[in-house]
Symmetry: C2
Subunit: 341 residues, 2 copies
DNA sequence: GTTTATAATGTAAGCGCTATCATGAGCGGC
DNA sequence: GCCGCTCATGATAGCGCTTACATTATAAAC
């Protein structure tokens, strides 16, 4: 840019000291006399000098920058994780860069190429459900990356993964939701979302099944509808389920994979003339910012995403190889009601 | 990390060539014989070598990383801008890092310190409304930064700013909204949002006033309520306005600064027993993903945030010093209705 | 006043690349 | 068979820092 870049040599010669001394005041070392410190600092200020973090990184082998891989930032759930991570990173002087999930897709890139060349000081990876065929590939990409930088996982992390992680206990969350709904008298409880083929023990639908079992309710295949995690898909899924069922068999409650799916369900229900929660209780997961403003306000699970993101950064920076579970709590709003007897 | 970092020297000696030759095949230069290229590439693959982008940056003076400063990622509006920018950046091999707005706040940091030291190849700054006393300070921080890297502005950019920018024409948007509402027969149109003291010609409320003038409607001070841009504030603002007015003077339409504020208004209206849109039309701005799922679905202005973010990156990379205007269009949904005569 | 520890500063060797310039091999043309 | 080319490759000087290590100045101890 316009101001010719001033280097440590310029400062040194201006101040009449060696570059080592400048370096010392830059890093706030103690063994510099107060007089020279001031003299050097004055020159630094006057010339508006900023040491190049990249030259610094050359010798310190550190970039003070972290990366995070998210499925999609447009889902506020991930935006919150990112925000929590970014804020925590900044506290320690780290920068946070976003990489799309496709960075791990070897069909598109050599993941390590883009990421490893950056010499990040660490990487956070938000794991959603992975189809089994894809999973092995992602896992190997992660292991590859790990040769270059510490990696911490967030989200839906199989216990078998040997990575530090802040995992959410999807099963427990869903189980609690079922318990909550049955406590309201529901017996016909549907679950919408997820992928059919999956066997992952941490999946949300496993919690659903466990919850049914706890309540001694039968698992009814028609109440289990699969869809991807968008509002549109959620609406479609509910419509399809209702269409396939005689009205007397319609569920009285729907558990949505997440709040987006729940939003789609509520809209689909309204359009079908089904009133929420009188005829159909709906509950989501993630407690997005808009949940309280839906009609009726959507019950959900607060998963403390910002805290989760921040915690992941702490693990990354501290280097602890721990697996933690993110805490969560059910947030009751008006979208779930006692079933009419 | 565990794999001792292999450098260009290792590759060179393994392949029995000089580091210059390795560098040539790394950068795909043409003047390398096919035989040595293959020989070198094989070693690179075998040793799983990734050139350090930071060492490279040392001599090329380029980091292939861009930064973006946003007020807050939690507002999906900004998440979309970020996403658009990030995707476009990646297409050109750039990385995108997030910096919070506070990075420009000299009361907290020396903005240039954190940002300039990173030697970013460019910076995007999303400008919201700035209180006049703060504005001068931010502007000077931006000018300071500009000595180190190109800067492109997005959003609410005063024409006087000498920065390349993708500005949105808030005034025109609001003016169109007023036109739309008057075309539905509304005469009592309120505007909620913004900051009272501001004089900025690009402010959304200026468009509101112009729109009223176009429609030969009086500007009524009680219909002009200020609040920050959150849903909660929006609800409070509407409540306060209604409380201050006799029912016969209640507005028949409310223009909200953005969709968050609109959400708050709709909820406040519902709680007050006012039906939207029969008794009160509501319209927002930004067309957030949840707008279609509100009750009633919220009319809004689509500001094509992703496109805007992408365009800003293009300006940054190409170095054009252009000021562009983001395009937009009104999205009609059910939250606005013809006023009952 | 000489010796020694101690604090303050300087010297110089990297860090892992890129880029410039030099060198050498191969080759057609006279 | 020598000249001048071109093309492939090597040698090397940075880039702007940090960091041993060396050196000098200062003070404390004898």
């Amino acid at each position: 840019m316009n101001s010719e870049n001033v280097t440590i040599y310029d400062i040194a010669s201006d101040a009449g000291v060696s570059i080592a001394t400048v370096s010392r005041v830059l890093r706030g070392e103690s063994n510099v006399s107060e007089a020279t410190r001031k003299k050097v600092q004055d020159v630094i200020d006057r010339r508006n000098y900023r040491p190049s973090s990249i030259a610094r990184g050359m010798t310190t082998k550190t970039t003070h920058s972290l990366g995070i891989i998210l499925p999609k930032l447009l889902n506020p759930h991930y935006a919150m994780i990112f925000t929590g991570a970014q804020e925590e990173a900044r506290k320690s002087g780290y920068t946070m860069s976003l990489f799309p999930w496709s960075s791990l897709d070897t069909r598109e890139y050599d993941p390590a190429a883009m990421l490893a060349e950056r010499r990040l000081d660490g990487l956070i990876v938000c794991v959603e459900y992975l189809p089994p065929d894809h999973e092995e590939q992602v896992l190997s990409a992660l292991r590859d990356l790990r040769q270059y930088m510490p990696v911490v996982l967030i989200g839906c992390v199989p216990p078998a993964y040997d990575f530090p992680a802040v995992a959410n206990n999807n099963a427990a969350m869903m189980q609690e939701i079922v318990r909550y709904l049955t406590s309201l008298g529901h017996e016909k409880i549907a679950f919408i979302g997820g992928v059919e083929e999956d066997q992952d023990p941490l999946r949300r639908d496993v919690g659903y099944e466990n919850g049914l079992r706890d309540a001694r309710l039968p698992y009814i295949a028609s109440y289990r509808v699969y869809c991807r995690g968008t509002a549109e898909d959620g609406g479609d899924a509910l419509r399809k389920m209702l269409a396939s069922l005689k009205e007397e068999y319609w569920p009285t409650a729907v558990i949505a994979l997440n709040d987006l799916v729940a939003m789609g369900c509520m809209t689909a229900a309204r359009e079908a003339g089904i009133s929420v929660p009188e005829q159909l209780s709906v509950i989501g997961c993630d407690n997005l910012f808009c949940a309280p403003y839906l009609v009726p306000p959507l019950s959900s699970i607060n998963t403390h995403q910002q805290r989760t993101g921040a915690r992941a950064v702490q693990l990354l920076i501290s280097g602890e190889n721990k697996k933690e579970t993110a805490d969560w709590e059910l947030v009751e709003r008006a979208s779930c009601a006692r079933v009419k007897s």
